[in-house]
């Protein structure tokens, strides 16, 4: 990653801060208005998961370059309870807290790259990328 910033997530207002930082970085990278909305929404979903399931964690935002293209990297990391069954958690409608269960599967649909690593008792890290499309 070229440069990165880290936002500690421990309250709801941190979600909004992270969302706005994501928009700022996205704008710098030249994302479309729709993509900026997608970036803000994705950050909102993963940051809320941190708050709800792990109580605290962090969102790391950065710019990345790869073979002539550039994009945004969003990492959501916590040392919470972890996810015992990732394929299950990735299913539409699966939620352990009466949520809509659309956060994680929806985020995967919205981003170009999505990776989730989780260990029970240790925590969860979700790494996502979105590339700027040039026409």
């Amino acid at each position: 990653m070229d440069s990165e910033i880290c936002i500690i997530i421990e309250s709801v207002s941190d979600i909004i801060t992270a969302r706005e930082q994501g928009r700022t970085i996205g704008k710098e990278l030249g994302f479309s208005f729709t993509d900026l909305t997608i970036i803000a929404t994705v950050i909102s979903e993963v940051a809320r998961n941190i708050l709800v399931f792990a109580k605290e964690g962090e969102i790391i935002l950065g710019m990345t370059r790869q073979g002539g293209r550039h994009g945004i990297v969003i990492i959501a990391r916590d040392r919470g309870p972890g996810i015992p069954d990732i394929p299950l958690a990735m299913q539409d409608g699966y939620s352990t807290r009466k949520g809509l269960g659309l956060g994680l599967p929806g985020v995967r649909r919205l981003m170009d790259e999505f990776e989730i690593i989780s260990e029970v008792g240790k925590g969860t890290t979700v790494t996502m990328k979105k590339w700027v499309y040039q026409t």
Binding site: F33, T37, E45, L100, L102, L110
Partner: protein, 121 residues
């Protein structure tokens, strides 16, 4: 940031500002349900024009809000969902099942007038 609720005839209009916290959304939830009873409102319009993010939490809150308003005998119309917000919602799989939506406040009011059996003068 609290959501102002405006009474207009038989209807209540709540205009959501950008970047609402969860607490604000929940407060709106309770305030609306209470005011529907107090004013015997027939309809509620929630204007989300300024909302730049509609995530699963906000969607769930709006859905349960509309449900509660209906249990109190009134109808809810959500208006002003921005095109890029709508696009993102579709991709996330978020739906506002069973809730009427309108392009803007004017259309929202027309919809409520129609469905609550009033004719425009």
């Amino acid at each position: 940031m609290e959501v102002p609720i405006l009474k207009q005839g038989d209807f209540l209009i709540a205009t959501i500002q950008a970047a609402l916290t969860d607490a604000d959304l929940l407060k709106l939830h309770y305030a609306l349900v209470e005011q529907v009873g107090k004013h015997r409102s027939k309809g509620v319009i929630i204007d989300v024009t300024a909302l730049d993010v509609m995530d699963s939490f906000a969607t769930k809150t709006l859905r349960s809000l509309a449900h509660m308003v209906r249990l109190r005998g009134a109808e809810t119309v959500i208006c002003g969902i921005q095109p890029e917000v709508a696009f993102t919602m579709v991709q996330l799989g978020l739906t506002l099942e069973g809730i009427s939506t309108a392009l803007d406040l004017e259309e929202g009011l027309a919809l409520l007038n129609q469905s609550t059996g009033k004719r425009e003068a």
